[in-house]
């Protein structure tokens, strides 16, 4: 309960902050439109030349893009900015202001993960939702309540995987302060914008098992367009849980190494 209240007040502060800068709204809108427009056009260009690649057609790839954009937006809503403030450029661990975070009477991992919100990301969420709806309508599949629930479950699982990966990468900063692990993750995350089936075999293995960004978008998209097996669903839930535990352990182990920084 106390945690929910805390989240509420962080969101409130973020909204008040965002409302103060009106021009930022238009700039955010422009950036959202750009990432939405380039993403959709890139896929349209690809499928203007080929019918299907490894079973992925224009509409099913659009469904996957919708999932990717939704995940990317959820990341920028709070996970990204919060962990960036911790481990990013001039982050708290770099400058040593993490001391003040440690002193707060709240669980450090919780506080570090939900502190900063970007309310304008709502624009991205709306657009990515639009892509998803469009793809489903194009597919002509009648969505049952069951498949919608499966999609939402896989999307939730994907957010957990995304959070665990980002937390893990951010936690590495305790071993090597100054290296921008979250930026490294950014580079790999971009690869989730296409189905893993579109990559060569060795890369598919890397994106599924080693840096599992592929699972995050491919599984929910399959839940939406069909072709998701029960084993895959159960497997991804178990995988997300394991990853979450592993990342938490890594973060807390790293936390003990933290020795502040002074000027």
């Amino acid at each position: 309960m106390r945690h929910l209240r805390l989240i509420g007040s962080f969101v409130g502060i973020a909204i008040e902050n965002a409302l103060a800068y009106r021009v930022n709204f238009w700039i955010s809108l422009l950036h959202s439109l750009l990432s939405f427009g380039t993403g959709v056009l890139a896929i349209v260009v690809l499928f203007s030349q080929v019918e299907a690649i490894h079973g992925w057609t224009l509409t099913s790839t659009l469904a996957l893009l919708g999932t990717y954009l939704t995940l990317a937006a959820l990341r920028r809503l709070f996970i990204g900015p919060s962990l960036e403030a911790l481990a990013g450029l001039d982050g708290e661990i770099w400058t040593g202001t993490f001391d003040f975070t440690l002193l707060r009477p709240v669980d450090v991992q919780f506080l570090a993960s939900i502190r900063h919100w970007q309310p304008l990301v709502i624009l991205d969420l709306l657009m990515s939702g639009g892509v998803l709806v469009f793809a489903v309508v194009q597919l002509g599949r009648t969505l049952t309540l069951g498949s919608l629930a499966t999609f939402l479950l896989t999307l939730f699982v994907a957010v957990i995987i995304l959070y665990a990966l980002l937390l893990g990468f951010a936690g590495l900063v305790f071993w090597s302060p100054g290296f921008l692990f979250t930026w490294l993750f950014n580079a790999f995350f971009q690869m989730a914008r296409y189905p893993v089936g579109l990559y060569p075999g060795w890369l598919r293995l890397v994106l599924t098992w080693i840096i599992p960004v592929g699972i995050m978008t491919t599984v929910p998209a399959q839940a939406l367009v069909g072709g998701l097996s029960g084993a895959m669903l159960v497997g991804s839930v178990a995988f997300a849980a394991a990853l979450f535990v592993a990342a938490t352990v890594l973060f807390r182990t790293g936390l003990r190494r933290y020795a502040s920084a002074s000027s």
């Binding site: 750009l34 056009l41 890139a42 690809l46 030349q49 290296f179 930026w183 971009q190 914008r193 296409y194």
Partner: protein, 263 residues
């Protein structure tokens, strides 16, 4: 002209950037990923056959060269110049007996040095793994050099002029983001420009963006006819001249307007 001072500044900048190379290598790695994704996607699409006459090996060659050309022409100063003006750092540069243009040029050259020490080895390894198909004739190789030089100059000056709009608007960096989106779509990143559908392809020929990136790659690959190469060079030169005029006009007007915020 204070050439000795300019040279000292240029050398100092690249040496200091090499000191912080892990940061710049990470940046270079991030920029490589987007073209790499399209390399994989298109070469998977081509498979054992061809897409519009291009084989898998040719896509690999095209994108590996594009990665190199992209990092040779991508101007980081497009982003930093605006900040210089906004934060008032430009005042310090203006006091030196050397035009601030040289500061930008110095970071531009430093960027090339640092990024190439990362990108050349990485693309060489990728070339061994992915086996590109490429036959470079002497003529194409010779034409590539001026095409690349003008592409660099065009992208640099054009972006510089856009960034200088920060003299008037505090959020002029939105225009730089817009330009990056156009380069992504029309300059041969998302697909070689010959593969773009109808309207996009005609736009890519007329607008300046292809001449900042895709054109030199196409010249080196030998995928253009002689008439197309000549037309390309003419358009590239025209856009470069226009960019220079725009840059000089904006610079002069901006200088009169500039006043720093004191603290």
């Amino acid at each position: 002209m204070n050439l000795r001072g300019a040279w000292a500044l240029i050398k100092r900048t690249w040496l200091s950037w090499l000191q912080e190379r892990s940061f710049f290598f990470l940046l270079a790695f991030g920029w490589m990923i987007s073209p790499l994704i399209y390399l994989f996607v298109w070469s998977t699409a081509a498979g054992a056959g061809t897409v519009v006459g291009m084989t898998r090996g040719e896509f690999v060659a095209y994108y590996l060269i594009l990665i190199l050309v992209n990092q040779l022409t991508y101007a980081t100063s497009n982003w930093t110049v605006g900040d210089m003006i906004r934060y008032g750092y430009l005042s310090g540069q203006l006091l030196r007996p050397l035009s601030p243009f040289f500061d930008t040029l110095a970071s531009e050259i430093a960027g090339r040095v640092v990024f190439m020490t990362f990108v050349i080895p990485v693309t060489t390894i990728l070339a061994f793994v992915l086996r590109p198909e490429l036959q470079i004739t002497l003529g194409n190789g010779l034409a590539f050099v001026p095409a690349l030089a003008m592409a660099w100059a065009l992208r640099f000056i054009w972006g510089y002029a856009l960034a200088l709009l920060a003299f008037w608007a505090t959020r002029a960096d939105a225009l730089v983001a817009l330009q990056d989106a156009f380069i992504f779509l029309l300059a041969g990143q998302v697909a070689p420009t010959v593969l773009l559908p109808g309207a996009l392809q005609s736009a890519s020929v007329v607008l300046p963006f292809r001449y900042m990136l895709g054109f030199p790659v196409e010249v080196l690959m030998g995928s253009l006819g002689q008439a197309e190469v000549v037309r390309g060079f003419v358009l590239q030169a025209c856009w470069l001249a226009l960019a220079l005029i725009a840059f000089l006009t904006i610079w002069r007007a901006g200088m009169k307007r500039y006043s720093a915020v004191g603290g």
